[in-house]
Assembly symmetry: C2
Homo-oligomer: 289 residues x 2
Amino acid sequence: MSNKTGGPVKVAFQGANGAFSEEAARKLLDCEIETLACRSFEETFSGVSSGAADCVVAPIENSLAGSVHKSYDLLQEHDLQIIGELNLRIVHNLIAAKGVELSDVRRVYSHPVALAQCERFLASLSRVEALPAYDTAGSVKMVLETARPDEAAIAGAEAAKVYGGVILAEGIEDNAQNYTRFLLLTRTARIAAIKVRPTSGPRKTSIVFRVANRPGALFKSLAAFALRDIDLSKIESRPIEGRPWEYSFYLDLIGDSNDPRVERSLSHLEELAESVRVLGCYTADDNCS
Amino acid sequence: MSNKTGGPVKVAFQGANGAFSEEAARKLLDCEIETLACRSFEETFSGVSSGAADCVVAPIENSLAGSVHKSYDLLQEHDLQIIGELNLRIVHNLIAAKGVELSDVRRVYSHPVALAQCERFLASLSRVEALPAYDTAGSVKMVLETARPDEAAIAGAEAAKVYGGVILAEGIEDNAQNYTRFLLLTRTARIAAIKVRPTSGPRKTSIVFRVANRPGALFKSLAAFALRDIDLSKIESRPIEGRPWEYSFYLDLIGDSNDPRVERSLSHLEELAESVRVLGCYTADDNCS
């Protein structure tokens, strides 16, 4: 592994260079890093599982758009541990090639979530079509490569820097309470080797569990935490493949998995659930929370 | 309104003609209908709120991909009532213009969820690029309009009929346990005028509520149902705009909202929650459940 020999830590992220995930990687890690741009979320997790990368930075939820389904599913499919969390303020910008004026723009490319978050701004421009792309920074790359005089893309400021674009309008998101929560994950064997930048929040533990499909099953599961006054910060349900209308539940709870109270709540949950898995224990990011 | 004068019931749906939502509309309603194809989910709900349409058919969750966030958000933004439910088996097909052979195809268009559900099939074709589009039937329409000899689209069989395409491969989804649950919604004043096709399931009530952000709040809310042995079939959390990491909870419970036991559970929930709203009471669809 690269950092065994003192080299940079290899961090996989989804998207093109200049993506918000890459910015999150730089803020999450407290050491020299090398970022690996991947086309899909699967590639980022597989890269870490196979050892091609040391860790992965994955968006798990946005304060406006909600949970990132794909990331939740990959938490369960791969045997990685969450070791850090970051809440990144998302600032969108309209980016184009040098010489393009705001009034020239007729087509704007970006990830569908970014386009939706800039709806009011886009509606304020006349005769502009919003077109979906795989990711924000990737759409900047494409727009600058083709350099058509009437095209622009929406992405973070870093993407303009990376591809030499000009910011035509900054902070164009409709709602400023726009944060994406990113998770940092690695293989259990690598935890000690990855230096996470300290954050100021409490310890947090993330788990996933399944319960039998019977009345009161979820309620009883939550009792394991409520009866011990353990605070839950997030619950998410995801479908179980091949079992229509049955779900896995993901929970984030405030507390360290080694705290006896948390340990007892997890043992209690194991009595009640079909399966329980701890996805990681890490220091929460208090920014904006 | 059209059906006051004996005309067809106007049903709004998202997507192009031939979409799965249009098929769901025909199966959900037990009367003559006129379907209104809308580009966005917002348009479908707004159309019913404004009176331009009588009702809307909206996908709420898929058994593999999970919840449709946009539909959940629109349930809360509009004052409509859920009056019916349908579980539609989703069968994907590769559709192209006449004369195109499977081996000619180099680019396949569809909605990203449909592309993801046919990943194994697409990987089995050589040198094929998967490209995202706004919807399934709309991508068939586009591919048949441009009629390039190396392009195809993924959609339901109905889209091939509507646009005169040829099915190159049918049932190409990776997993046959592929169902989308659709909801039928209308304005309160129109409920009596809309004839819903009978289904065989039990009565179901859908609600949305918010609780104060304190330990045990969700647990106590679920107690309102668990203490009365009321079964929950779905829980979904969605972010509250402008309040990062706070959530609205959507619940589907088995029982009629006029059943005294359900009425008492909802009164109990009102004591515990900041807000509670009943989104509708309808007969569940037992197909595949």
